[in-house]
């Protein structure tokens, strides 16, 4: 199978403290891959290794078969960071125009894509307001819009739905599933259990190690648990 992301024995330390150890997995095209784990388990570090913002201390990260970091691959993914990386003084639209320019979208396509993503995250009416006047949820949505602007074939989302109300969260997941049907690969980190169930496959992360990796249904079936939470407690507790 055609794997979009491939991690081989990846480990990472920050100031001698081990953050991730021995992570190996690969994600095929068109999969929604979830990273579930409590805060401090290494989710964000793992995401940064995949984006090439960090270089692993050990092992290798490949995206589309190319070793990261690579500027070529950076064109092809869309990244939504955990913090809302937006320019507060600029309006929502100006933020999107800035990111679209960096990805060198043509004038026409830029205009069209900005309209599309604003509609998708329901921010059309507020697009002319400055971001500093946005609520937390609106900023989150704008960050997501910025990540989807250039129609990337791989989308990496770090805690995308924090602070977003349930109705909008559902519509965002609908959109993600639509993208997936078009062959887009999606990596999403979360610490919300019910969100984890929406992923095709789920990697459970604790203390920098993957304690379980499978489709949510199978994870539950294997140990006869009712919820993902039970699965996590089962493996997490056993590892100690």
């Amino acid at each position: 199978m055609n794997s979009v992301v491939n991690l081989q024995n990846v480990s990472h330390q920050i100031k001698q403290k081990s953050i991730l150890s021995n992570i190996t997995f690969s994600i095929p095209q068109g999969e929604v891959f979830g990273l579930l784990g409590p805060s401090g388990s290494g989710k964000t570090t793992l995401v940064k290794l995949i984006t090439g913002l960090l270089v692993p201390a050990g092992g290798t990260v490949y995206v589309n078969g190319e070793r990261m970091p690579s500027l070529e691959q950076m064109k092809r993914y869309g990244f939504m960071a955990q913090s809302d990386a937006l320019y507060q003084e600029l309006t929502g639209k100006e933020n999107l125009e800035f990111f679209a320019s960096i990805y060198r979208l043509s004038k026409q396509r830029k205009k069209q894509r900005i309209k599309e993503v604003l509609e998708m995250v329901n921010l059309v009416e507020d697009s002319h307001r400055e971001v500093e006047k946005y609520s937390g949820g609106m900023k989150r949505r704008l960050s997501l819009a910025a990540a989807l602007l250039h129609e990337p074939e791989l989308i990496i989302l770090d805690e995308p739905t924090v602070g977003i109300d349930p109705v909008l969260r559902q519509s965002i997941w609908k959109e993600l599933n639509r993208l997936k049907d078009n062959g887009v690969t999606i990596i999403v980190t979360t610490h919300v259990m019910d969100e984890a169930e929406k992923c095709d496959r789920l990697a459970m992360l604790q203390d920098g190690e993957i304690i379980a990796l499978n489709a949510p249904k199978q994870l539950k079936a294997e140990i006869g648990a009712d919820t993902i939470e039970d699965v996590f407690l089962h493996y997490g507790g056993a590892s100690k």
């Binding site: 500027l71 064109k75 003084e89």
Partner: protein
């Protein structure tokens, strides 16, 4: 080019951030005006008591506008001076003048001494004094003015430039734009260009205000002043953005002021350097403001031509190149490639 994308964004942010514009243009103009008011406000009148002086001498002094000559008893003069009510008194003993000066303010002291020396020496032939540079009216404000223009531009660009790249880091946008195909060098050059365009306007307004409104002494070409001020601003920007990499937040950025900015004032020629120890002078030679101030003073007071101050220009340009390269490499901490 993504450089231009960054530049456009910075200019747009400037447009929205009226406060930063004010800090970079209005603040230097305000402080320069204050300096001008303080330094140029008419000299204090000198209060001098005359005790039994010859009439001719008394008449000669009384002619001078800045002197308030009061005939007085010796005892009264002494007690008044003790209360700092008198700047000096002149006493005639056996046909020889004797002068006592109050002496707590060095400026007043030298004014009184100049004045009395001229008056008392008037019997010998008056000296003709010609000036190679400047003129008799060249005041303290004119002398330190060029340094002040350079300093204020340097200071405010350093702060605003450093803080804006720092904020890019603290609000997460630095990481965000580095997760795009943007090159590190494009980011740094975008900053230089965006701020560069803005500092041209800033330099123009500050220099024009100082020279044409505050009437700062100016012999040389305005374009040269602009050129040096602009290069100084770019040095401040590249240094500020470089140092912002070593600050965790805005407060730590402010902590660089006493370390990086204040020492430059002392070595930039505001105080004469010639008498200092060699190693002290060497400290001044690694500071950008020293070269900027020297070039500005040369142009404004001595009407230097390009060949006279070109060395300073090359040094400033090298500073900019050095800081910029270091900056591009410091960004490696955020992304390896």
């Amino acid at each position: 080019m993504n450089t231009w994308t960054i530049t456009r964004r910075i200019l747009l942010q400037f447009k929205r951030d009226k406060r930063s514009i004010a800090l970079m243009i209005a603040a230097p103009i305000f402080v320069l005006t204050l300096m001008w008011l303080v330094l140029e406000s008419g000299e204090d009148e000198l209060k001098i008591a005359a005790i039994d002086v010859p009439e001719a001498f008394e008449e000669q002094l009384a002619e001078k506008e800045e002197v308030n000559l009061i005939p007085m008893e010796e005892s009264k003069a002494k007690s008044e001076m003790a209360d700092a009510g008198l700047d000096a008194f002149v006493l005639w003993e056996n046909g020889e003048p004797s002068v006592t000066i109050e002496g707590s303010d060095p400026n007043t002291t030298s004014d009184v001494r100049d004045l009395l020396q001229k008056a008392l020496g008037s019997e010998s032939r008056a000296m003709e004094i010609e000036f190679l540079h400047g003129s008799e009216d060249l005041g303290l404000f004119d002398y330190i003015g060029p340094v002040l223009i350079g300093f204020f531009v340097f200071f405010f660009v350093f702060i605003v430039g450093g803080v804006s790249l720092l904020r890019e880091r603290t609000q997460g946008t630095l990481e965000r734009i580095l997760s795009t195909p943007l090159k590190r060098s494009e980011l740094v050059f975008g900053y230089l260009l965006g701020f560069g365009l803005f500092t041209i306007v800033q330099s123009f307004l500050i220099a024009a205000y100082s020279i044409y409104v505050l009437d700062m002494f100016m012999e040389g070409r305005f374009f040269y002043v602009l050129l040096v001020t602009f290069l100084l601003a770019m040095t401040a920007l590249s240094l500020g953005t470089l140092l912002s990499a070593f600050a965790k937040n805005e407060f730590q950025m402010i902590q660089f002021i006493p370390v990086v900015i204040v020492p430059q004032v002392f070595f930039s020629g505001l105080f004469p350097l010639e008498g200092m120890a060699d190693w002290l002078q060497a400290i001044g030679r690694v500071m950008p403001l020293t070269y900027g101030a020297e070039a500005l003073r040369g142009i404004m007071i001595r009407n230097e031509s390009f060949s006279d101050f070109q060395l300073e220009l090359y040094v400033l340009t090298s500073f900019i190149a050095l800081f910029t390269l270091l900056n591009i490499s410091a960004l490696k901490r955020h992304r390896r490639i």
